[in-house]
């Protein structure tokens, strides 16, 4: 059995009395594209900064490719690429100068071939000063620098922020092809559609705690269904005796919408005794599932 790309065990990080992350357990397999989703302030960036040794764990431990993130940080970083959420590269440098500077940390030659390849793919003007670049272009530079040394693990934090749809598509395609080559991707975002398109598994983090780690497909296929029922009249609306309703149903006129996690047969059996004018059963979107977990 191969060593997990990322192994987080009982990891806690506190900022004095304030919560950072609390007792996180997570395992990301080699070659996997793993989603890490949660709203702003949930603890995504804190987790990443502990993995990168910008912050030190309060308790617990994290390992990357079997190596301890505190003790073996330098070795880990030789094999890891990182796209920070704030693409604040050195503003006074020219793009080309910055990329060569990054490249020289990994190889003496500065990975010129790889710089050519990636700047061409992302259509980057290498002569411009970073300070003069738009947010999207700075993001592209940030992505390129993270991939120069063909890392075994890529950690990305809100990577598509500022990227236009065409560049997003190219970036996703690049991640997929690098993943096929064996690179693991730890994809942190609050944009569910990105995670849905790209990742196989996802961890949902809320208020510093992991509340679910699930395959994207399982999340979708979980018995959670989106139900729409139109009754004969508003007075006839009644869901009494129906277990498995998640959250509060939304009533509009004589119709009602709700998320349902029970048996479909039971739902049909209960509703069959009512005066139903129309009914639909749909797969909820990941967004709706996500909101369900958060509510």
């Amino acid at each position: 059995m191969s060593t997990p790309a990322i192994q987080i065990s009982d990891l806690t990080k506190r900022y004095g009395k304030d919560r950072g992350i609390d007792n996180i357990n997570l395992q990301v397999e080699e070659g996997e594209i793993f989603g890490f989703i949660g709203p702003n302030g949930a603890g995504k960036s804190t987790t990443i900064r502990v993995l990168l040794n910008l912050l030190f764990p309060t308790s617990g431990e994290a390992r990357i490719m079997g190596l301890d993130v505190v003790r073996d940080s330098k070795v880990i970083k030789q094999k890891t690429g990182y796209v920070p959420s704030d693409a604040n590269a050195y503003p006074q440098m020219e793009t080309n100068e910055f990329l060569q500077y990054c490249g020289r940390f990994f190889s003496r030659g500065g990975n010129e071939r790889r710089i050519d390849e990636l700047t061409e793919l992302f259509e980057v003007d290498r002569k411009r000063k970073i300070a003069d670049l738009s947010m999207g272009n700075r993001k592209k530079i940030s992505i390129i620098q993270s991939l120069l040394h063909e890392p075994e693990l890529l950690i990305v934090d809100e990577p598509t922020m500022g990227l236009d749809p065409l560049m997003q598509a190219r970036f996703f395609e690049l991640l997929r092809s690098e993943s096929r080559r064996g690179m693991t991707v730890f994809y942190s975002s609050h944009t569910l559609s990105d995670v849905q398109m790209l990742c196989k598994r996802v961890a949902i983090i809320r208020e510093g705690r992991i509340i679910k780690v699930e395959e994207i497909e399982t999340l979708r296929k979980r018995q959670l269904k989106k139900i729409f029922v139109e009754f004969g009249s508003a007075e006839e609306i009644s869901l009494a005796g129906l277990p498995g309703i998640e959250g509060t149903p939304t009533v509009t006129g004589r119709s009602v919408r709700f998320l349902y996690s029970g048996e479909i047969n039971q739902l049909l059996s209960v509703l069959s005794s009512r005066n139903i004018a129309d009914m639909t059963v749909e797969e909820p979107s990941l967004e709706e599932i996500f909101m369900h977990y958060y509510n």
Binding site: R49, L52, N53, L54, L55, F56, S73, K74, V75, K77, Q78, T80, G81, Y82, P84, D86, N88, A89, Y90, P91, Q92, Y101, C102, R104, F105, F106, S142, Q145, S146
Partner: protein, 269 residues
């Protein structure tokens, strides 16, 4: 130490080094060019100086008015403001910002994600600080020596000049170490330039007060200026062992503590 980072830091700090060195050299040359006029008008100058309060003279590094009429004494009095104060400000501003700037500009997220240990980052940047402080000291000292040679009316002691320059370098290196140390204590990333400049001026002010106020001479020992030999015309003027020990010891200690703190520093962005 990482040469890629070292070279990059050298380049990014070259302009400020050039500006500070040029300004201090120009000020020194300009001031020394007045030496001839100063000598020719000694009576008027003495009359003028007699109305200046002693504290003000001390603050400007003039402890004995007669010393001003020797070329080395004249240079030394100016050196106090130019290198002992301005040079120290340059040293502490450079050193207190070199690590912190990565944090408040948020470039630390790149720097700390590259394969560098914290010690390598610290020493690569500290080496640039110490090298720049050495360069500004050497260049201004050489320029100062040349101006002395040009304006002198009588011979001066080269040994005393070298000793004074060595004291200046030691003091500046101490402030460089202090700046590095202070920057590792800052938790939430923000510039500490004003604090650093203020600290140099306060220490110099305390030193001056300790010199002119009876009963306060002891508090002078709380400042590094007390350990700088400033009496360049004294026959026994030399590099005191206790001063060298003080500056080298404290600089090494502060640097050692700073690197240990930086290795465990939480980088909040």
């Amino acid at each position: 130490m990482n040469m890629n980072l070292f070279r990059r830091e050298l380049r990014s700090n070259a302009l400020s080094l050039l500006i500070w060195t040029s300004v201090i050299t120009a000020l020194t040359a300009l001031t020394m060019s007045f030496y001839g006029v100063f000598l020719e008008n000694n009576e008027k100058i003495l009359a003028m100086i007699s109305i200046i309060p002693e504290g003000t003279l001390q603050f400007k590094g003039i402890s004995d008015v007669d010393d001003l009429f020797s070329v080395l004494g004249f240079y030394s009095a100016n050196n106090v403001i130019y290198m002992l104060v301005l040079g120290s400000i340059y040293s502490i501003v450079l050193s207190s910002g070199i690590l912190l700037r990565e944090e408040y500009n948020k470039t630390a997220e790149f720097l700390l994600a590259w394969p560098l240990s914290r010690s390598e980052i610290f020493f690569s940047k500290a080496a640039v600080v110490f090298m720049n402080v050495a360069v500004i000291n050497i260049v201004t000292a050489v320029a100062g020596y040349i101006t002395l040679e040009i304006v002198k009316r009588e011979p001066f002691s080269t040994d005393a000049f070298i000793i004074m320059s060595a004291y200046t370098l030691l003091l500046n290196l101490f402030f460089a170490s202090l700046g590095l140390f202070m920057s590792t204590l800052v938790k939430r990333a923000r510039p500490i330039t004003t604090l650093s400049i203020g600290l140099v001026l306060i220490l110099y002010f305390i030193f001056t007060i300790s010199n002119i106020t009876e009963g306060f001479s002891v508090i002078g020992y709380a400042t590094p200026y007390k350990f700088v030999g400033m009496d360049t015309l004294a026959p026994d003027y030399r590099l005191e062992f206790i001063s060298v020990l003080y500056f080298v010891g404290l600089s090494l200690l502060l640097t050692f503590i700073a690197v240990r703190l930086y290795r465990r520093k939480e980088i909040y962005l």
